[in-house]
Symmetry: C2
Subunit: 742 residues, 2 copies
């Protein structure tokens, strides 16, 4: 088989994945919806979710429209012929970029909306299935989650491929220009992801913190109790944060990284063309084909999610994950072998064929993915030292619980950074040895090696995302069971699934952050490539002052200042996100308290709280609060770029990524560890010096609840929003690069 | 007056400052020591402090000896002729560097020990003076603090000058080599500072947290109550952390920045020599002369600390600060005018004489110092929005208090980063316009401008440090008054002084962090200068592979990896420091509990707790726990440098500095704000919706106590240790540069 034949897999794979998602959706929707009580509460969650989604996506749609017009205007005016990287510039380029931006935004929104829709339909079906069988419940939840997973990855693949084809990517003459014309798609995806993650993240944690503080702390009623007016908002929140937010996050990852890798592929394409290697375009199409194989691998894996009733649900999910990974290895092998033919050209170390090095880099990426899955488990699961340490510290009160959790969060940066460093170093080294030498003597293989590693890592995205959405579905299923006072057996199963869901949600964050770190390096390189393409054309046109961006020099005071601002941005943005949760929660607290006060029948079940009002207040407040951090994130890189120039922006991008990845790691993992320290205590694992269990109701438990509450906005608002910020920095600078060139 | 005459001021100014410190010490020691009860408790504090100091400085002395031997060995073996920056290399250089290292370490230790000694003598005299007069108490505390301030700055000045003179700095032939030979002094100072700050910081907060958790929380007795066996350890801790720790921190700042600025001065010296300007050496001596003027300005300012009994003590201290600043402006004007003569050479913008631009840069530095003093007040003082916000959040419990404090801490990075960015940009721009053009066309003025700004900022160090040490002295005075059950009038005065001391301690941290950020850029440039000096000699000797380090390229994968490791190091190091406090506090908790249990007479005052045992346990644990973070800090840059090379280390240095400065800002300011939110509530400023005061004993107060306890290791252990880490990265790479060159 030759590369041009293998390329044909992209479109069908994407379509098959969409069809498979529809099949799964139908399968889920066809299942029974449980008791009338269950249906009633599920109906309320559905209504609340739809209300939020409608309003949020209307807002995002408006923002995206403004964004598209802004992109059109800025590019049209500023990307004149003088600072264009291809022969398309001015309004013609502005229009294309704006269209790409808009299509990217729409695809992201579509996958988010449909995924959410299925997620809030799957929850009650999971709760209902839990009355009968653990395995069935796992399957319903996982299939519901997979709808999101497949749609996100497939729409990102089809979107990038479609825009690429529309802008001349299938034409031999223009194939090497097309990757630069589609960068708007990535920016559009980032833009939507930013607001989806911020809005969803603020909503979910404000509802959680707000309803818990009044219900659990002040009134002493259990979580998810129907007497709490905030309970429906809380259940809605699980979906809008973890499902819609993380979906948009990973949509952006796959889209931006595809585009970045295709831009880097242009350099390899030129080498292949000059050397007369077969199918030079294969180097540009490579990322899309890898992604297609990842989708196919995941489809197969879905059928491996089965097991015995007594089995740990996590091991059923793990089985599917390992199937995806192993099939991905095969897919990566086929793709590199077929598409990276060099007419017998061999690499440097060991003298192997070129494709073998890149296959190795892809394996490095897949291995990194596995590493992060297990690292996150170690740091956030109750069976290991970090969570136990926090639980022990809870014995001396909330202060020591917080101190201990902070220390654990800070500590997790070590293994995160070292793993990323090893992955980057190894994949760069492999690529560097592969023998991709450009005409000017530059070895472009190293960077391409890191790109292939990123591609490898992202092959399992659809599966990871399915596991992630499994989280809110089972969380909701538990809430529905509690709310509808379902039978104990069902409760027990949903509790087990919920615990697994907490783990899978944590895993996804580790995965997302690692992929963001790897991707940053490749998007950064794509940015440099784009700037140099522009500068090369300016030099050819004898424009005074034009010079190649040979390095991003930290010793340059402008670069240092931009780097400092970038690190600050990461903290400041997190501050805004955390504060937004506080403000929104305050609004909920006031309303829930008011209902308890003015409707005295609530406590003895004679009056029904006005759930919808809390949902409405939360929605409005969350959407209002997401605007400030969103604008700060979008405006800062543009302002810094215009003031300090293209090199400074590159410094901002890199240091912002590094700091963002580190802080997100801290926030995600400390939050996860606090959450599980509380669960560890609730499960009766903590004992005092005399061996008495310190469980629910003990002072240690109260201290652990404080930690859990603190961790909520850390791990579900600020942390995940930082993933998006990091990637937004990359896509925004890639699109706006011409504005920064002097 | 010509420059060579002005240079003569250095030695006398240093000696005058030391003599003045001795005069102040005598003045303080001659004052009355209060009631026998006061003398008794002061005696216990003194004993505890001496015990800690003895053991700590013995440990540090041993570590420094090992360090000196290590420096000697590494430099002797690895800094061969091939990688030497001057004609001195191998064992000859190793010996000189080790001597400089050791002298730097000894000077730092001497200033720390003497300052501590006076501080623990001044506390009881302040308490006694408080029985008579507020003004007298302020004067005793401030004069006691000034002993530390003057000794730290003067010994650093005399030490650098002495080593510089000893290594040929007064000889015209070797003056331009000497700055490179004395870098060991800065490393020695950093090395001591690291362990002094870590050991002191762990001790002070472990004692504080440990004794509070048993005494205040478990037994419900007041802070500093004599029945608490941990109380003496707590009072000792105030001195060893804030006085000895911060003293070593700023000793290092002044020493390292003097040396860095002198290295940068070599480039200006060469320009001046070639251009035939008068006194080219003046450009190298400039930093020392500026420092001498700063000392003289501070001596004058001490006499301005006076006022009325009814005056706010803070405004007395501010008066002295403004006198120091204004006299520093004059000193900076004289120094730049006399030492930067260019035979009528003028700068670019506005066509002014060269010295004027650098005078402007010096003013930028002094202004930055003022800005930080007020920024820190805004964020950590009770009268402004941030602290009020945290106090309000305490109404809904400890979780919202922590969330709010974290948001405030993250937020403070904005104004910190922007101020530093403006200071860097302005001073670089001024220097760049000054017309310092090297033979190869490089404009070296910009970097020198940032160096002059740093010098300007550090002119007020002695005064700032005096204010800082005022903090533990008044804190102790309050403890002594409480412990000895002194009369209410004295208690009231010591309480007022203690509140002011909290502010001055916070100010110093802001000041220290800003100076670390400015200094990093200059030390980074000095590192690049040194590497290039080495490479130029290697190129001249036709050594294959030798090339100038023209840029620190973030796009280089090794640099990126080193930068990632640097950001991680900042978090990981903080994690170790925070955890060390937790572990040490645990040891104290166990012991204090044991005494309460086994000595039942303690509670009714019939039995005296064994204070000395707690002091001893704390000392041992703190010294044991400081080793791990210390070794990580020293080893990581060396390992990264050896593995990834000189350019990667430069990236590590810059990104480590940026992340370190940001995280230290977060930790210092959130800690300070939590502390003052508690005080704000204790002062009865927080009211519920009905206007009732929520004061001591309320739930809101309990929540604020949690925040205060969490903030303790943040602001007094991890944050200040990060200042030292940042500067250590700079000095260690400067000394070890030859190891990293391939």
């Amino acid at each position: 088989m030759d590369a041009s034949t293998l390329q044909l897999i992209i479109l069908p794979a994407g379509i098959i994945a969409v069809l498979f998602a529809l099949y799964l959706a139908r399968d889920v929707l066809a299942r029974d919806t449980g008791t009338p009580e269950m249906q009633a509460v599920a109906g309320m969650i559905f209504e609340g979710a739809v209300a939020f989604i409608k309003r949020q996506y209307t807002t995002i749609f408006l923002l995206a429209t403004v964004g598209a017009i802004g992109v059109f205007g800025l590019i049209s005016v500023f990307e004149t012929q003088e600072v264009a990287e291809t022969d398309i510039f001015g309004p013609a380029l502005g229009f294309r970029t704006a269209v790409a931006f808009f299509v990217g935004a729409l695809c992201s929104m579509a996958s988010g909306i449909i995924g959410m829709y299925i997620s809030v339909k799957a929850n009650v079906r999971t709760a209902s299935a839990a009355r009968r069988s653990l395995v069935e419940a796992v399957q319903v939840a996982m299939r519901g989650g997979a709808v999101s997973g497949f749609l996100v990855v497939a729409l990102s693949l089809l979107g990038v491929y479609g825009i690429f084809a529309a802008f001349g990517g299938l034409n031999e003459e223009t194939v090497k220009d097309a990757p630069f014309l589609i960068v708007g798609f990535g920016f559009g995806a980032s833009f939507v992801a930013l607001f989806a993650q911020l809005g969803g993240g603020i909503y979910t944690k404000a509802a959680d913190v707000g309803s818990d503080l009044v219900g659990k702390v002040e009134k002493g009623i259990p979580e998810d109790d129907p007497r709490n007016a905030g309970v429906i908002a809380d259940l809605v929140g699980d979906n809008v944060g973890d499902c819609a937010g993380r979906g948009a996050d990973l949509f952006e990852s796959t889209a931006a990284e595809n585009i970045g890798a295709m831009i880097l592929g242009v350099a390899a394409y030129t080498i292949a063309l000059n050397a007369g290697w077969p199918d030079p375009e294969a180097w540009i199409f490579f990322p899309l084909v890898v992604r297609a194989f990842g989708l196919l691998a995941t489809i197969v894996a879905i059928f491996f999610i089965r097991g015995k009733e007594t089995e740990d649900p996590m091991s059923m999910l793990n089985r599917g994950y390992w199937v995806t990974t192993l099939l991905s290895v095969v897919g990566m092998g086929i793709t590199t072998y077929v598409m990276m033919q060099t007419n017998g050209g061999i690499g440097n170390a060991f003298g192997l064929p070129t494709w073998v090095y890149f296959f190795g880099a892809g394996i490095v990426g897949l291995a990194t993915s596995i590493a992060f899955v297990y690292i996150t488990q170690f740091y956030t699961a109750g069976s290991y030292r970090p969570v136990r340490e926090i639980a022990e510290a809870s014995k001396t009160g909330p202060a020591t619980n917080i101190i201990s959790g902070t220390a654990v969060g800070f500590e997790t940066t070590l293994v995160t950074a070292v793993t990323i460093a090893i992955a980057l170093f190894a994949s760069f080294w492999l690529g560097n040895e592969a023998g991709l030498i450009a005409e000017d003597g530059r070895n472009v293989g190293g960077i391409f090696g890191t790109a292939v590693a990123t591609m490898g890592m992202l092959m399992t995205t659809a599966y990871i995302l399915a596991m992630d959405t499994f989280g809110p579905i089972t969380d909701n299923a538990g809430g529905i069971a509690e709310f509808s006072r379902a039978e104990a057996g069902a409760r027990e199963i949903t509790d087990r699934l919920d615990a697994v869901g907490n783990t899978t949600k944590a895993l996804t964050k580790g995965y997302a952050i690692a992929s963001a770190a790897l991707a940053a390096f490749l998007l950064f390189s794509a940015y440099i490539d784009k700037v140099n393409l522009i500068q090369a054309r300016r030099i050819a046109n004898d424009i005074p002052g034009a010079q190649l961006l040979e390095s991003v020099n930290l010793a340059n005071v402008n670069v240092f200042i931009a780097a400092l601002i970038a690190a600050m941005l990461v903290f400041f943005f997190s501050s805004l996100a955390i504060r937004a949760v506080g403000k929104t929660a305050q609004a909920i607290i006031v309303e829930v308290r008011r209902q308890f006060r003015e409707m005295p029948g609530i406590m003895d079940y004679t009056q029904r709280p006005d759930y919808a009002r809390v949902v409405d207040i939360t929605t409005k407040a969350a959407l209002r609060e997401m605007v400030a951090p969103g604008l700060v994130a979008v405006a800062t890189p543009i302002i810094v770029g215009v003031l300090l120039g293209a090199e400074a922006v590159a410094g901002m991008l890199m240091v912002g990524t590094i700091t963002g990845v580190m802080l997100a790691t801290v926030l995600n993992n400390s939050g996860g560890a606090w959450d599980n320290a509380k669960k560890y205590i609730e499960s009766g694992n903590l004992k005092d010096e005399n061996g008495n269990v310190l469980g629910k109701g003990s002072d240690a438990h109260a201290a652990a609840v404080v930690g859990d509450t603190v961790g909520d906005p850390f791990k579900d608002t600020a942390g995940p929003s930082l993933h998006v910020l990091v990637k937004l920095l990359a896509t925004i600078t890639l699109v706006m690069a011409p504005l920064f060139i002097r």
